[in-house]
Structure formats: C-alpha cells, structure tokens
Amino acid sequence: MAYARDEVKAITDKVLNMCKADAVQVGFSGGERSATRFANSSITANLVEHDQEVQITVYYGKRTASATTHQFDDATLRRTIEGVQALAQRKPENPEVMPLVKPPQQYLEVEAALPSAVGFGPAERAQMVKVSTDICEKKGVLGAGYIPKFDWVNATANSEGLFTYFRYADASFILTCRTPDQTGSGWAGTTGAKDIRNIDAAMLTEVAADKALKSAKPRAIEPGNYTVILEPRPAARYLSLMLGSLNARSAEEGRSFMSGKARGETRLGEKIFGDNFTLRSEISNQVLRQSPVGQDGLPARDITWIEKGVVKNLYYDRYWAQRQKKDPTGTMPGMSLVMDGGTASIDEMIRSTRRGLLVSFFWYIRPVDTMTLLNTGMTRDGLFLIENGEIVGPVQNFRWNESPAVSFNNISMLGRPIPMHTGEAYDNPGTALVPPMKLEDFTMTSISPAV
C-alpha cells in the first residue's frame, strides 16, 4: 500500500483547505511495515501492518496545537481540525513558535524505494528464514532472528505552499544463534538495506553460527581496562551516544557535554577528540539513501559535525537559531550519518593487538552522567580474548562504564565503514555508515556472566 506523491498531496491539500487557522502544517506518514520473527529455528511471527496518519498543527499567531488521526474521511478530518483549532485558541502564546518554512526549497534528489525492497514480501522473508534455519540446523545451533521491512512515505505540507515527499523502502536481517547448551551465542546482521540483494542471509548465518560455536563455554577473566575491537554493530551503538550532545541549545544552556566553561558558551571549534575521528552527515550518500528533508521541511545538506577531532558544527533548531541570530541547521544529527573509517581489516586489528577483546555486540546501554557522556552497557553474543595477535578463546561478558568523549581520543585503528543501525531496536531509520574500530583503555567494570 504505497502512497504516491499525488495521492499524499491530495490528502494534505484537503486538510489545508479545511483548516481555518492563521497557519497550518500537516505531517503525513504512512505505508506498510512488515516483519518476520523466528526463534528456536522456527518462524514465530509474520505480519503486515498498514498505517496512515496525519499530524495537523495549527497556529493562531503564537498559539498552537497539534492533533493526529489515522482516518482520512471528511467527517473525521473535519472534526479533528475543529478540535485542534479550538485547542490552539484556548492555549496561551508560545514564544518559541516559529513561522512556517516558505517555498520554494531545493531538496537533494534521493531515490530510496528500489524495486527489490518494495517487492520484498512475507513469502520472500519466510524463504530467507528457511535458508538461515537450514544452516543453523546443519551447524547445530538455534537461530532467532528478525527481518523488518518498510515501504513508507513521509511528507510535509504547510499553508505557505510548501510540500515535501519522501518514500523509502528497506529491510534488515538480524540474527542471534545460540548453542543448544545455552553457553554460546553469536550475532550477525545487516540493516537499512535499500537493495535487498545486499542482504546475504546465508553468509550472515554462517557468521552468527560460527560465533555461537566459538563463544561456547567462555571463561571468566578479570575486569579492567582493555584494548577493544568493536565490530560495526557495537561501534554504531557506541557512536550514537554522542549524537545528543551536538544540540546547540542544550550546550549553550549549560546542560550538555558540549557546554563551555561559562553558561552560554560551547566547545565549538575546540579539538576534543582524536585526529582520526571525523563525523559527517552526507545526505547524498548512495548507500544510505536517506531523507533529504530536515526540521519543518528545511532542506537537509551535507554537514561536518566533527573533523579530525575538532567540533565544527552544532545543531541549531529553527527557534534557537533565530534567538541566537544563527542560521538554522537543516540537517539533524543522525541524518545520513557517516563516520570516516580507515583501511584496516578486523583481522589486522587482531594481529596488532597484544592483549584485548573482540566485541560482537553491545547491549542495554544507558547514560550514567550526561555531562561527561559516561554510559554503561554490556557485551553480548560473542566476546573473545586476544593475546599476542591471536584470538585465544571466548570469555565471559563484561559490564562496562565508559564515555565516547574519552574513547574517541583513543582510537588506534579504523576499518571500512559499513551500513549499521545505531539504535537499540531496528524499527526506525537510524542506519549509519560506521567502521569497526579499535579503542584503547576501555573500562570493563564487572563480569556479566549471562549468555
């Protein structure tokens, strides 16, 4: 159930025409979200969700309110609009309300709904499960996995005449293999694939199954500071921990790691990470193929957040930019995110490590202190000890307490970036290009014996 541009425009036009407020913004989202789950090497859920919604925001001067409905018949829209208009008129003025973004705006062309992803249906997903679980059976492990698929449209229209439309289709394949005795577990996956031919379920299953078998019966070693080699999935999760600090407002209000010494100051321009840490949003990236539309319909543009360790840009939303007399940043942190990598393979990272850990996955990361970016989390689904350039065996998982503010000064090697989701779950956009990374002095606090 893909919504074509004209179809969406007709819906948003209808809403705009029905509204009597001074100004109106309509956000549309809708399409198909499907998913297949399997566990114990058998399919457990296969589903197709259809959804559609409009979020209607109305303005009377600086008074505003918004309402969301999933029904688009005239009667429902009329009553929703009447309700939200009445609500806005009863609210006090909000000084942070901004005027609507005016057309014309120029957006980068991003083709993000390729035929292979659009046509990826429940039968194809079930076949992928079969390929995977057949390999699991041969290898003697149990497979548990998730194959989410989106064919989705986001659009924005406003009473100034602005209209944006972005359709994307993508899928992921995420797998955990476990040994029958429950002492070994391994993870592999690929996320946010716009071209389904880039998902190699057989190869990923081989990787996850081998990790599970090799990680069985881990031994305990002492907590402490270790050299760690983060594969792309834990690297992506770890990278995500600093994105919130790129917000200029919280930095200037003294509430962030990026806050300067005095209130109102930030660390913009300071070199606070290592020379080899560069982080950009690359809207035109042909692998990611993500939305070119930023806040309220502003065009998103390529931007460098951190360059060779120096903070080059912070994110100014429209209100804060106006207040601080800056240009708003159309690109929000996390959009089409690319971390520059290097040329090292994971094997080369291992060979160059005297004593360290190869990390397959990070789990349940939560902030401990937002001002220092101190976070805690655990390793999971395959942790291996490296000694003198070789993997010597599996070890029990660790809880860690560490800050990317420290670690990104301690990157000793980087590999080639690959697409990997930065979020804890995989249900929303959030795939970035992230390299595997070798970090020195990473603090493992206690043993976490769970498998």
Binding site: A39, E53, H70, T80, G121, M371, G377
Partner: protein
C-alpha cells in the same frame, strides 16, 4: 446510584467527548455493555467467517481506539509532553486480524474500518500464515479458554476530558512558578499525560469482549545548576489506571520546594565512593528494579527463547519452578492483573483470557511464571495466566508482563524510620535513574534520582555518584527488611519496550520499602 453504574455512565459520557473519528462513532452508536448488540459484533463476524472459509484453525479480530493526550509547561511555556504517546493529542483506531493456518501465525492490520477492508486484511493474514509454513519447525499450540461475552472498564472518578485545558495549564503553571522562584533552578517541566484505550476482541472460539481503560501519569522535573554542576530531580508520582483524580491526589504542588531544594543540594553533594553498603529502596525506586530483575526474567516467552534476538532470554529455566531460590524468606512476588489502579489491570487479555493474580515467588522460592495461551504448555500448565497484550490495533499481540509486585511484610514489620534507624552504613535511594541489565536479567547496574547517606541510624546528608550492582539472586537474597502494607506503594512505568517490532506496555510495580544488605555501590564512577 451505585458506584458501578456511576462509573459506567461516566464512561459513556467520556467516550462521547472523545469520539471524533468514525470508529469512535461506531462505538458511540453501540449500546454500552451489550457486547452482542455492538456494531463491532457484525464486523468481527465477517473476519471470523472469512478466516474459517479459508481454512484457519483459529482466528481473532481486535479493534482498538487509542487516544493519547498530554500537556506540559516547560519554563512557563505550554507545550506537549511525552507520556503514553509521542506528544500532543493523538487518536488512533483500526483493527488487527490474527489467524493460525498450517500451524503458524499470520497477522495483518489496517486503520480503515469497513467490510471490504476487513475481508482484505483477513485474507492477507491468512496468506502471510500460509507463506510462513515453509519455515516452521513446530506448530502453535494454544491452551484452552472458555468463551466469554463481557464488557469491562476501569473505574474512573473524574474523566480527564471533563477538566478544562485552562485548569490543567493553571495547575502545571503553578508548579513552574514555584520552581522558577528558587535560586539555582534553571529549568522545570511539569506535565500530565492521559491514555484512553477502547478495544473489542472477537475470537473464533466464541468470545466477544469489550473493554475501556483510562491511564493517567502526572509529574514534574527540575534542573538545578550550582558550582558548575547540573542535577535533575523528578517528583515520582505513581501513574495509575484511573482518571484525573491521579493528578489532584498526587500532592504535586506541595512537593515542589522540597524537590527543588534536593536538586540543588544534589549538585554539591559529595560522591558516595566505592564500597559495600546497605541500600534502602523507596517504593518509587524499587519499582524499576523489580521490573528489570524480577518481572522480566519470569516471562515464559523469554525463558523458552522467543526473545533471544532482542530483549534476551532469562537466567530462569522452565524447570526451576519450585526449586530455584530467588531471594530471602521476606521476598514474595505476585503477578496481578486484577488490583484496582494497576496499569496492566484489565478484565481480559488480548487472547480473551480472564485476568487473575498468581504467585511468582513465595518466601524466596520461584513458584510460577508469566504465561499466555501460546506458551503455557512449555511448563505443563493447562490454562493461560492471561499475559497477551498488544500496544494497539496495529500490533500483533504477544506475551507482556502484568503488574508485578513485591508483597508487603506481615503485621509488625518495621516502618521506614525504623529501618533507617537500624542501618549503620547505608544509602537511601529514591526515584528512577540509570538502569542497565544484561539480556538474561542477572547483572544489573542501577542508579536513582536522589540519594542520602545513612550513618549509624541517621539520614546524614545527600550524596552523589550512586549506582549499585545487582546480581539478581544475590541481591534479593540480601533483602533483610521490608515495611508493612501501610507503606506499600504502587509505582509504574509507561515505557516497557519488548518485541520486534518494538511495542510498549505500561506495567505497575508495587513495593514496600526494602533494605538490601552489603551491595557494591559507586563502581560506575570509579
């Protein structure tokens, strides 16, 4: 008028206020409490008939209408708040059809409620199940359940929709005004969030069940900046299945100055240091510890591996029932979908199983698990405990935790003051902080919102940088003091995430004050 009738009439009035879409119209036009006369009976039968015609061994259709509303005042600016939804006024209605065909599940859902769409979506659910059959290695087995025809609703004293927006804003603004007058407070947000859920479930086994649930969650958070240190403090209010009376009964305004003072004191409070200490948990803090290391590991779908790819498995094994010690003799845990006010309290789950309360832990020993129709057979039980739930019409139902409580101590149990007086070297912890737990729910590192040093039976001063490390069974084994029922309180969370795609559940967790002896504190900051 009897209370039950009063509540029912109030529910009907409330629904009329909320009804702004066509599904709401259909609900409003259907006679309340007469489930078989509802417009949704006929619509349901279309799906059930279609599924039967297509050879399904089981089918159900679940219509829901969810209305989330919230309002917040942040630094005197009226804005939307997160709570049960994403903010603002959200209405969402539609239906999901779930079938078993060829021994596997199929599910499809749509927001468009009409006969043609119901037929189409039912056919799609069947097609999905049939396509899935090539990847099944075992068949879905459902525990039997009686057929019910019933209506159930949460008792509500004051419908949140009946309170004017002006009154809500004035209430929240007053909290802002008091907080922003306190030197050192740089930010305050007060908010209230409301969730209304109507649902109608029909199953191929003959059940027709209609339910209405209201949930309310108010609160406020302040940020203090002193000597270059920033700390936040949140006033913990127990969110409940109830109406606006949760807001007016929460003593929010009365606690603003205290909460601000504590936030400021926290900025310059000395670090607790690293070492073994006794911790005393208020019910507002114990809530999330119970959620993470008692409620999650006793979910049977996790125990048998259904969540291995995301939420994880469990340190509990299915043959641990009756054998494994989970804590000390004081440790009694009850799963409960019946206690008034609990956010997971319902008449029936989304399998159509009547709600109940049952023991999980008695005198420290594991005696039960959370089950649903699909999983009960794994532990040889003949009936489901009724733990199936979906966030909305759009989502497929699966096993979600009920309210899970630590029971209060018997008469004669100590008071909070007596527990403090009996503690030589400890930390009192209130509210929610950083929570992180492994995928089998065994190694947790938890923080809180505010902390006080206890020395020689006295609450001495606030301290900072407090986290504690809990190995689940050791942690509860060290439980050596709890208060009685007069100090038992039920807090909860509106954000329990699980499943793929991720769905949100809203469990309540009641607890007495608890003391845990000799726990490692402060290691995260070392």
């Amino acid at each position: 008028m009897q209370r039950r009738n009063f509540v029912k009439s109030l529910s009907a009035a409330g629904l009329a206020l909320y009804a702004s879409d066509l599904v709401g119209d259909l609900v409003a036009q259907s006679p309340r409490g007469q489930v078989l006369q509802s417009s949704f009976k006929g619509l349901s039968d279309i799906a059930l008939g279609e599924a039967k015609r297509r050879g399904c061994s089981y089918a159900d259709i679940r219509f829901t209408r969810n209305v989330n509303d919230s309002v917040a005042v942040r630094d005197r600016i009226v804005t939307d708040a997160f709570g049960f939804g994403a903010g603002g006024h959200e209405e969402s209605a539609g239906f999901g059809v779930r079938v078993i065909h060829s021994g596997v599940w199929g599910f499809a859902s749509s927001p468009i409620v009409n006969e043609a769409e119901i037929r189409k979506i039912t056919a799609q659910a069947v097609d999905v199940a049939r396509a899935s059959a090539i990847s099944k290695r075992f068949e879905v087995t459902l525990a039997p359940v009686p057929a019910y025809t019933d209506y159930w609703s949460v008792p509500v004293e004051v419908n949140p929709e009946s309170v004017s927006l002006d009154e809500k804003i004035a209430f929240l603004m007053a909290i802002n005004e008091v907080a922003l007058k306190v030197p050192g407070i740089i930010r305050v947000q007060s908010q209230m969030a409301f969730d209304f859920e109507w649902k109608y479930l029909a199953t191929s086994e003959g059940s027709y069940i209609e339910q209405e649930i209201w949930r309310t969650a108010p609160g406020f958070t302040v940020s203090a900046l002193k000597d270059g240190k920033l700390k936040t403090r949140t006033f913990s209010v127990a969110p409940r299945s109830a109406g606006y009376e949760v807001v007016t009964g929460a003593r929010l305004l009365e606690n603003v100055e205290r909460i601000c003072a504590e936030a400021i004191e926290h900025c310059t409070a000395p670090p607790v240091g690293v070492g073994l200490k006794d911790i005393i948990m208020t019910p507002a803090h114990a809530m999330l510890t119970i959620h993470e290391i008692v409620a999650h590991p006793t979910e049977l779908d996790r125990v048998v591996g259904y969540e291995a790819n995301y939420a994880g498995t469990s340190f509990v094994k299915k043959d641990d029932i009756g054998k494994r010690m989970m804590g000390s003799k004081l440790f009694n845990v009850t799963a409960d979908r019946t206690l008034e006010g609990g956010m997971c309290t319902v008449g029936y789950d989304d399998d159509g199983v009547k709600s109940q309360a049952w023991p999980l832990v008695r005198e420290g020993r594991l005696v039960g698990l959370q089950t649903n129709r699909e999983t009960a057979h794994y532990i040889g039980e003949k009936e489901s405990r009724g733990c199936t739930f979906a966030t909305s019409w759009r989502n497929y139902p699966f096993l979600r935790m009920p309210n899970v409580h630590v029971d209060p101590g018997p008469p004669g149990s100590p008071t909070p003051d007596e527990i403090i007086a009996d503690t030589k070297d400890g930390v009192l912890i209130d509210g929610r902080g950083s929570y992180s737990i492994d995928q089998q729910r065994f190694n947790g590192q938890f923080g809180g919102d505010a902390f006080w040093e206890i020395q020689n039976g006295k609450k001495v001063r606030m301290v900072s940088d407090v986290t504690y490390n809990a190995i689940t069974t050791d942690f509860w084994q060290n439980l050596d003091a709890i208060t009685g029922k007069e100090h038992w309180e039920m807090f909860g969370t509106t954000g329990d995430a699980k499943g793929q795609p991720v769905q949100i559940n809203h469990p309540s967790h009641g607890s007495p004050w608890c003391r845990i002896r000799r726990i490692m504190v402060g290691a995260a900051y070392s």
